[in-house]
């Protein structure tokens, strides 16, 4: 039971990060039907910029509380990633707005590679150890002293994610700008006839997505204690899977998909070793029994298979419910 609770906590933490990144994919898709594959790299740049700021501040021995240093890192990363998002849209995607859909898609993949390598030039090809300046404190959740815990970092990630999601929902559903975004997503030509500057709304969508992504990057870096120029690739693909799971283009779907994916992944990683332990079948074979006598864990798939679950989910969703959990069926859109 403790393992289950622990993996659930880990999953929800991870899931909230996926959800924030998935929101970036889904917002952009919702408004211009583009899968911005470079979004994972925006997240990576957020992590990297914050890394540099944190290292500089911590290294200089600035008399600041650790939390303030991390916050300062995020406050620098946010505008940088917003600017990256804005630039991607303005320079690469806008000229292709009327092009066949394959063109912006391939451009997105190209941008992703470009951003990775720019980051490699700036921050080197080595994994960078995120300074663990925030002292990790664990809180026990059950009576068991060796049982499930939640750390202060996890609590912070959850709180920040929930606050950002609530803020985004309020922006999109309650403000004039948000209504204009939804109107633009539904019909750009008519939105223009309302006096909405469609280009500005689209640019703003990229800026907001970049801002969300940067915070996700800082959270990932702080949580795993590491940043790397390629970290955005897998993270981005998983968040994209989460967006598809929830129904791409649907904000609530991205949040639900992110959370579910995080939980599935954590539970999968927690249990896959146990479930594929061949020693359950030791009775079946003499050779196996002998090996299990020496080592009771003859595991077919270990927790290093964690990353597989996101993509199994992606494939299952694409096969059985292509529109995603909360997505509208394609026929309903006409």
């Amino acid at each position: 039971m403790d393992i289950f609770i622990q993996q659930l906590i880990n999953g929800v933490t991870l899931g909230s990060v996926y959800a924030i990144v998935a929101l970036g994919y889904t917002m952009v898709y919702g408004i211009i039907q583009l899968i911005n594959f470079a979004h994972g790299e925006v997240v990576m740049i957020g992590a990297m910029v914050a890394y540099s700021v944190i290292v500089a501040l911590a290294g200089a021995g600035a008399p600041l509380p650790p939390l303030a240093i991390v916050l300062a890192g995020a406050l620098v990363a946010i505008p940088v990633c917003m600017a990256v998002g804005f630039t991607l849209e303005r320079v690469a995607y806008r000229p292709l707005r009327r092009a066949p859909r394959l063109a912006p898609l391939i451009t997105a993949i190209g941008l992703s590679i470009i951003l990775q390598h720019l980051a490699m030039i700036v921050w080197s090809r080595n994994p960078l150890p995120y300074p663990q300046i925030v002292k990790s404190v664990s809180y026990h959740l059950t009576g068991n002293p060796n049982g499930a815990t939640i750390t202060n970092v996890q609590i912070a990630i959850l709180a920040v994610s929930v606050a950002m999601m609530a803020g985004l929902m309020a922006l999109v559903y309650k403000t004039r700008l948000g209504i204009a975004m939804r109107a633009t997503a539904q019909n750009q030509a008519v939105a223009g006839l309302m006096g909405i500057d469609v280009n500005k709304v689209i640019a703003l969508t990229f800026v907001i997505a970049g801002g969300l992504g940067s915070v996700a990057g800082v959270m990932v870096g702080t949580y795993y204690g590491i940043a790397h120029y390629q970290m955005g690739f897998l993270l981005g693909l998983k968040a994209f899977s989460a967006a598809v799971l929830g129904g791409i283009g649907n904000l609530a779907g991205a949040m639900l998909g992110g959370m579910l994916l995080g939980i599935i992944e954590a539970l999968g990683a927690g249990y896959v070793g146990d479930l594929t332990n061949l020693c359950h079948f030791a009775d079946w074979s003499e050779a196996l029994a002998q090996r299990c006598a020496v080592d009771p864990n003859v595991v077919l798939f270990g927790s290093n298979y964690q990353d597989v679950f996101a993509f199994i989910v992606l494939i299952l969703v694409l096969v059985f419910r292509p529109s995603g959990l909360l997505g509208e069926r394609v026929a309903d859109r006409a």
Partner: protein, 257 residues
Amino acid sequence: MSASLTPGPSPAMRERGDVTPLLALEKLCVAYGGIQAVKGIDLTVGRGELVCLIGANGAGKTTTLKGITGLQPVRSGRVVYDGEDITGQPSFRLVQRGLAMVPEGRGVFGGLTIEENLAMGAYTRRDRQGVAADVERVFELFPRLKERRRQTAGTLSGGEQQMLAMGRSLMSKPRLLLLDEPSMGLAPLMVQKVFETVLRVSAEGVTILLIEQNAKLALEVSHRGYVMESGEITLAGDSKQLLGDPAVRAAYLGASA
């Protein structure tokens, strides 16, 4: 159609020749790729006038409107609005100048509520109280919309969507209203209601360019009319005269010549 659908006195009659037209198209050409859909037409709409542009499906009526509002690039010629050349201006800039359009097929935002649709109509306005008052005015005009104000527009019937589209276009306080086929796909009773509204808006002083396939109705409610065929204006004149014109009767009113 009932006698209630007759236009007010033509402003062109009242103030003949003293002002420039609110909208003037000068040799306007609009093309889709290589296909010339609008072939150099001239058209004017005077201040306060209700002018209709009629013609068969594919004559280039909608393309003309798209050329005016910048939805389709203009190949050559000019669009002059209120004495100013607005050719090729992006559509969002025109709203601030008092130009509103109800697009073909209504173009309501199906996923937005009725209130949100109306709020988008008033997007360029900053006077909150005035907007709130105008929302009430639209609800007065179309009580059906008020009952459903928090429903998404996608749940409305075709006629209700047309009402919403018209109400939304009025929210920007337009001086010139472009209506693209407001009767399309509507039941006769709803058509009557829509045209009553067109007349009421016209009577309030809004200049209207009405595009219609329903030629009889359009000529009945308007002051002047233009007939379009294969991208060109073939006939123009007083709506009453056009209604009696044998060629128009034969081609568009279903009467034998």
